[in-house]
Each structure stands twice: as C-alpha cells, then as structure tokens.
Amino acid sequence: MPDRPEQQPVRRIVVVGGGTAGWITAGVLASRYPRRGEDGVTITLIESRQQPPIGVGEGTWPTIRATLKQIGVTETDFLRECDASFKQGSQFVNWADASDSDTYWHPFTLPADYADRNLAPYWLEGPRNPGFAPSLCFQTELCGRGLAPKQITTPEFAGLANYAYHLDAGKFGPFLQKHCVGKLGVTHVYDEIVQVQSDDRGHISHLVTKSGNLLAADLFIDCSGFSALLIGKHLGVPFLSRKDVLFIDKAWAVQIPYREDAGPIASATISTAQSSGWVWDIGLTTRRGVGYVFSSNYVSDDAALEELKAYLAVRGDLSPGLSFRNIPINSGYRQELWVGNCVAVGLSAGFLEPLEASAIVMIELSAKSIANLLPGCGGGMQHAARIFNDTFRYRWERIVDFLKLHYVLSRRTDSGFWIDNRSRESIPDSLREGLEFWRHHCPWHEDFSHREEVFSAASYQYVLYGMGFRTETGPWLLSDSDRNRAREAMSETARHAKALGATLPGNRDLLTRIHRYGLQKI
C-alpha cells in the first residue's frame, strides 16, 4: 500500500444511510464500477435500523428511466414492486388567478421543433387558444385523458411520449436494496455510527459503529437524510436556508385509498394552489398520496388542515379513517456538498418544496456526477470536490429560481402569501434578470449555461406561458418561414395528439396488464 495518502487509490466507498438517496447512489456506483474483490471497488452501505427512511419525493423526472436502466433493474419489477405509475408531467390548478379556467400543463415531452427553432413567439402572436402546451405538445391531451405514455407492446423504458413515474418511496429503497446487494455486490450493514474519525488532513478515515466495528474508506457518501451525520454534524458545513425565497415550511400529508379497485390513475402530478401554498395529488397503483405544503407565516396548522380537508371533501375523498401527518420543510442546501473525501447526496445535501419533484432527480444527478468524477487516488479529491460543488451549487440555485418562478408569475391577491411572494426582495437577482430578459425574448437554449440543466428553456416556456406571461418579440426578429412552420407544427400537434390518444390505453389499464404480463425488453 502506498504510504502517502494522496497516492492511495480510491477503492473503498462507504454510503451512510439506506433511503432513496443511499440506494440510488450505491446502485449507480456499483453498476458503473462492477469489479469487486481484492483489485476492485468495494461499496458498503451502512444504515441504522432506528431511522426509518423519511419517504419523501414520490414524483420523479424522466431521467429516472436511464438511472434504473443503468442500475440494471427491469421496468416491470420496478413498477410491480414500488406500486409505481406513469407520470407525464404536472398540472397546475389555480396558480395564476384562481379563476374557473385557471389551469395549465408542464408536460415532459418538449415543445414541437424544440431542437431547431423557437416557436413560442408565433404562438404568442396568435390567438393563444388553446394554451401554449396544448398547442405545441401532444402530451397534454394524453395527460388530460389519463392515458398511459406507451402500449403493452412498447419495450421497457421506451415510450411514445416522454415519461417518469410516481412511486412509493417506502418501497423504492428496499427494492433497490435487494438488487444492489443481490446482483451488484454492495455490502449492506445494519449498525449505528457512534463516532467519525478524521486524519490530519481533515479527511474522514473511518467510522466507529455501535457494535464496535471500524469502517474505513477512501470516499464517504453522506445519505443520512436530515441528520446529515457527516457533512453537517461531523464536518460542520453550514446549511443555507432559502426560506427568504421559498416560503413553504410545513406540510400535511395523507394517503387516500381508491374508491374502487380499478379506479383511474391520473398520469400527471396535480398541483392545486391554496391560500398559503399548494396541494399535491399523486396517483400510485394502490393509493393516492395527497398533501398540502404551506407557509406557517400565513396559515396555522389547524387552518391548513381544514383547507386540505376541504380539498378532499370536494372530491368525495374525505373519510373518518384518514391519518394526517405533519411534516416540517426546511428549504435550503449545504454551502458545500463535497468536502475532503465526503460528499452529501439527498436530504443531507438539501431539500426544497416538492413543487417540481426535484428531490430524486438531484439524487440521480449527484450519483452520476460522483461516478463520473470518481478520483483515481486520494490526491484527486480536491479537484473533484471543486467541480462537484460548482455544478451542484449552480443546480440548487437554478431549482430555487425555477420554483420561485411559479409564485412570481401568480396574479393571486387573496392572501399575503401570494402577494409577498412577488415582493422584489424575495426574488433572486438571477430570476429577476431572467424575467426582464424574457419580456422581449422567449426562453431558449442559450439562456442557460450548463450542459445538463435541471430545468431547461422548455420548462421555462411551459410555466411562463402557462401562467399567462407575455413576451413581446420585436417584429424584426420574426420570420415568415418560422411562422408557417409554427402553424404547421400546431396542426401536426393536434393531429398527433388525436391519433395517439386513439391508440393508447388508460394509465390504470396498462399498469394492470404490466403487473400481469410484464413488459418486453425489446
């Protein structure tokens, strides 16, 4: 073994925590570096039996399909064992002005021609009916009708429309665990960490567990959730609260059974704005997950619970047996995510309100970045850390901007929550600049500087124009050929929506078939 720590190869990885973050990270690393044993990589996941996973984040982004494929599970097993359903985007209700017709879509499929031309200005100069997303994305029709994004004959992980999943986070971790341990050679340890030991450079050298074992490693990944055992408690990296921008700090959550066994399953997350926050409504195969995230500065726990109950009552879903859980939400992230030989993934790194389901996608992106940046030897840690921190600070900031965008564009005046959300000092400079820019320029690829943006220009277009934002593009910047193309694209979108809508099964119907027959690999 080399005597200088900088030359020590990075071969032993310890993941602390066995929730969604821990198992995704272990799975991505283990599938990426499959060589085990003496001259391979060892990956050990340690979790305490006393801390049950928190089970947040039942919504995902389409990146999850590539992640599951990379880890090596089949889509059929995943759908069956995690009670998962297909998600094709989000529907926002009552966000703009709470009028009767106040609803818009943020679908996963990109707007027509998105790779080549920006058609938004031409939709804007027209009658704007139907809305932006329905005009340029066929998927809204599928979402609106509760259809699946694929057929039973479509191969696994492929779709006729872009899709992700809603999943039961309580089942997702154990599902990945079984695969990681059984197929990928991840070592799983149930034990409690009582002490963290660092060397003279400040790198973590080993963990001491309750049962008296020493767990040494070259890289430690902190997936310990809110307790942030390594990045927070041991290394003392400060948590940067973003409550000044995102006011949500609490949630009431409840599980709603389907009224009939084979009741339809919505194929989008439905987000309905309330007096002081919004209600999520997510359909799994076995139940719905519903919850109200709110700001305790504007509404009390009791009043918020009443609002949530009213939401359920209107839909006929309020029954005496329901159990409501109160969950604190602390919006923000660590100032640094990778320090020395320790990197934080998941809730230990940060958490933001679940408005655009950013929690699991951030775990996937982190795991992928760690796998891609994995230093060959200890001396590479500092460089990898710098790149990782730059990338992920940027990503957290962009997510904060994008979530805030939903609130800033609202015209609701019915509560201090909505009015204060538009106050200048609560809006990050980067978002304010962007909004100024988009007044005369429709969001486009170059507006965002990174290779892999969590939310691309397409997402900005869907939300801006869904919320009723208007961009005035100078006529000198428009062309007849693009205008004609836009007209064609809109009628193609309508035709495609109709044709696909006629052949796709309902979300529930397809899931039932998959549970019974499975999906083919090809």
Binding site: Q151, I152, T153, T154, P155, A158, R513, R516, Y517, G518, L519, Q520, K521, I522
Partner: protein, 255 residues
C-alpha cells in the same frame, strides 16, 4: 362483425358449416400459430414472432402477406397450399367462458360459433350434431383443434417467454421491392437472434433441448427462407412474373 353463440345440440341441430376457409380468411396478413404445427408450416410459410396486442408477449405467427388484410395464400376463394394453420381451420368456431360456470371452475369453456360467418349454411356442408343430439365427427375434430390451440398457446408463451428471458429474440425488418417497383416494409416482426444463440452457454442450450424448445427455434429460423415464396406470390399477383430482386431480411438493430 362477430356474433358468438355457445353451441347447443337443440338450437343448432340443423346448422351446417362449410368445412373450408372462406373469405374471412382474406382479412389478415399474419396468423398466430402454435409450435406443434411448426413441422407442417415449415413446408410453406415463414414463421416469425409478433407481440400480442393484449399482453405484449411474443407469439409465433405465420406471415401471409405484406399489407394489412393481404393474405397471399388465399387465392380465388381457396387456400392454395396443402396445410392450413389451425387458427384458420377452426373458423368459425372458438371457445368462450361457460356461462353460469360453477364457482371455482372459471376455466370451463364452451364451443361457440360465429353466426355471422359466411361458412354457415343450412343446405350443404357438415352437420354439427347427429340425429341423436351427439356431436358429429366434424364437430369432434373442431373441438380437438380448439383444445390443441388452447394448450398450444400455453406452450407457445412458455417457449417465447423463455427465449425473451435469454435475449434470444430480436426485431427483424423486411424490405421488399416488387416487380412493379412498389415497396413494402414490414415492422413489428421478431425472430431468433442467431448471434445470441451461438453464444448461449451449454447449460442453457441443454435446457432448451430438454424442454423441446431447441427444435422449435430451428424450425423458425429455417422457415425464414419462405419469405421469397410469399414475395413470389405477390409478384405473380401483380404481373404474372417472378421477382427481379430478392427480399432483404435483416436484423432491425436495437429497438
């Protein structure tokens, strides 16, 4: 339209059925087949796999034509090769779940007939029931075809399910140019992945042999040469001459 009614020796005592494929057979270009008929199919038909629209599972199917509703084996009102697939022979009969089946016996099935089929007659053709109400030889044959199809379809799914697990099925594309320069591209067909078969570990090869799958798999592979026969039928129909260029049958690559 299909008008399925369970057979009844009283109601259908005088019903007669023409014992040969009728015009309904012209309505499809692939017909689902079962492994037990592979040896006989191999004399005339290309066999591929298609995905069931209901379950997505692979099922063996004989290729009859290049366009929807084009059956090149049904010419001038008759089937023009010696062996007719069981799925055609059974027409216009099928099995339907027995009504009021006693609890616990959901699997009970009745032979049903499509009363709207053009096979149905009252003057000529085969009788279904004898004077004493017992089933005729014709109906007995039909019944055994139907039950062969039920067990055959179970076998077929066991066969293709195992092939899929072993990654031995892959998509295939068929591009044909006919004598009149018109073209056809067939998609949604699958065949045996020959390269994967060659690389199959001995233990799995032995398992396929022991389950009787190995010969079925080679029947499928050998049958592909009949695609040119089907092309020739089409060309004959178009102009009375045979093809200038053979069909291109190749791996479709990753789906």
């Amino acid at each position: 339209m299909v008008n399925l009614v369970a057979l009844d020796s009283q109601t259908h005592r005088n019903l007669r059925v023409a014992p040969r494929p009728t015009r309904e057979c012209a309505e499809f270009n692939v017909v689902s087949v079962i492994p037990r008929e592979f040896p006989r199919l191999l004399a005339h038909y290309p066999i591929f796999f298609t995905k069931s629209a209901d379950s997505g599972r692979f099922e063996p199917a004989a290729l009859l034509g290049f366009e929807r509703k084009e059956n090149l084996f049904f010419v001038n009102g008759r089937w023009d090769v010696a062996y007719v697939p069981l799925q055609i022979q059974r027409q216009p009969f099928s099995l339907i779940p027995r009504r009021n089946a006693p609890a616990g016996n959901q699997a009970a099935l009745d032979v049903a007939i499509d009363l709207d089929s053009s096979n149905i007659q009252t003057q000529e053709g085969e009788r279904l029931f004898l004077d004493d109400g017992g089933p005729s030889k014709f109906l007995q044959d039909i019944t055994s075809i139907l039950s062969a199809l039920v067990s055959g379809s179970r076998e077929a799914y066991a066969f293709t399910g195992r092939l899929a697990e072993l990654d031995l099925i892959e998509p295939v594309r068929i591009d044909v140019e006919f004598v009149d320069r018109s073209e056809a591209k067939l998609e949604g067909l699958y065949w045996i992945a020959a390269a994967a078969l060659k690389a199959l570990p001995a233990a799995q090869l032995a398992e396929l042999r022991d389950r009787g799958f190995l010969e079925w798999l080679y029947f499928q592979m050998a049958s592909v040469s009949h695609v040119s026969g089907v092309v020739a039928r089409k060309n004959q129909l178009l102009s009375g001459v045979t093809a200038v260029r053979g069909p291109e049958v190749r791996n479709a690559g990753p789906a």
